[in-house]
């Protein structure tokens, strides 16, 4: 009798844990859910460090690995760009078929701090793009990603940027293919890319 009560409790605990884990996993996977439902083609028109306007059409035929971030970000952005750099190194000859992009969500400050200097420190092949507010918002919207300025007295210049920290993969014909959630190991991204190249 006592055992049965214990069993009931254990089952309840197990069910709760499964439910909790499921919920947690679901919340981890949430991203641009639109991508899972209907195929779409993100677009952008943003100047690079030299001021030359770049659009998705410039990279037709290549896979695009796209990250939205800001150069004053000490944690998430360097971690992800370090992984992108590792992927680009490990792709060796196949790297010619992949263009990695860093799109600034803090373009004015990033231009002042040095955009090319930042991306180049991770990997010479990473192209930094920083437009005006309208161009940046349009690019983010087309990827279905979110970013926002957050006032924070404990951050440099009194603000920080919140942003979607995932990496987005766009195919050679411009189709959005998938996202790699923040923290996906470089080896996993590499394997996925190799299977497509």
């Amino acid at each position: 009798m006592q055992l049965r009560t214990l069993q009931k409790i254990l089952w309840a605990v197990a069910s709760f844990a499964t439910l909790a884990f499921g919920t947690w996993q679901f919340s981890q996977d949430r991203g641009p859910s639109v991508g899972e439902q209907a195929p779409f083609r993100p677009t952008f028109a943003l100047p690079d460090a030299e001021g030359q306007l770049r659009t998705q059409a410039d990279f037709e035929g290549k896979h695009l690995l796209v990250f939205f971030g800001f150069t004053n970000c000490p944690d998430v952005c360097p971690t992800t760009l370090a992984e992108v750099a590792q992927v680009m190194d490990d792709l060796s000859a196949q790297a010619a078929n992949v263009q990695s992009l860093f799109i600034s969500v803090d373009p004015v400050r990033d231009r002042a701090l040095g955009l090319a200097e930042f991306t180049g420190a991770f990997h010479p092949s990473i192209l930094g793009l920083a437009g005006d507010d309208t161009q940046t918002r349009a690019a983010a919207d087309s990827f279905y990603i979110h970013y926002e300025r957050q006032d924070d007295t404990t951050a440099p210049d009194g603000y920080s940027m919140s942003h979607s920290p995932a990496l987005y993969l766009v195919g050679p014909d411009g189709d959005w293919l998938r996202q790699f959630s923040y923290g996906t190991p470089a080896a996993e991204i590499l394997a996925d890319l190799r299977s497509r190249l």
Binding site: V76, Q86, L113, G114, S162, Y182, G183
Partner: protein, 157 residues
């Protein structure tokens, strides 16, 4: 003279070895303090470390200070609904018997107002202030900009 020999020894030792050092204060062990090289001094640097509370009572990390930066703060990266935000952490709880990681994508120290660029291979001191255990100063290894952590062979628990 003694200090000079000591600093020479610290400089000679390779960064990963420094980064794998463990320092004890009271019931706490502070393990593997590391940072990433910076591009100039205009952007904030980061500070990561693992802290184990081997005692029977809770403690908390209240603050960090370092001659390397004028405004070091504790922050936490939180990902909610696919959006990462960086929030100021008033303190980082260190529950009894647990290890808390300041690691990429979570709690971290943000070193603003760098006095100089951090160069790979260098070390700098940082003082951690704990609620119960008090202050302890450790040497932080500056790893490459692309480092994901020191290779101590005990990572990823």
């Amino acid at each position: 003279m003694k200090t000079h020999i000591l600093s020479a020894l610290i400089l000679m030792a390779s960064s990963p070895a420094i980064a794998c050092e463990s320092t004890s204060i009271g019931d706490l062990s502070v393990v593997g303090p590391w940072s990433r090289a910076t591009i100039g001094a205009g952007r904030p640097a980061v500070f990561y470390v693992a802290i184990t509370n081997g005692g029977a009572s809770d403690d908390a990390l209240l603050a960090i200070s370092t001659p390397a930066a004028n405004m070091p703060m504790l922050h936490e990266t939180i990902v909610t609904d696919g959006v990462a935000s960086m929030l100021h952490a008033m303190s980082i709880p260190l529950p009894a018997g647990q290890t808390v990681q300041l690691a990429p994508g979570g709690y971290h120290g943000m070193l603003m107002g760098l006095t100089a660029a951090l160069k790979e291979g260098e070390t700098f001191p940082i003082t951690l202030t704990f609620e119960v255990a008090g202050d302890v100063t450790v040497n932080v290894a500056v790893l490459s900009l692309r480092a994901e952590g020191p290779d101590c062979g005990t990572d990823g628990q």
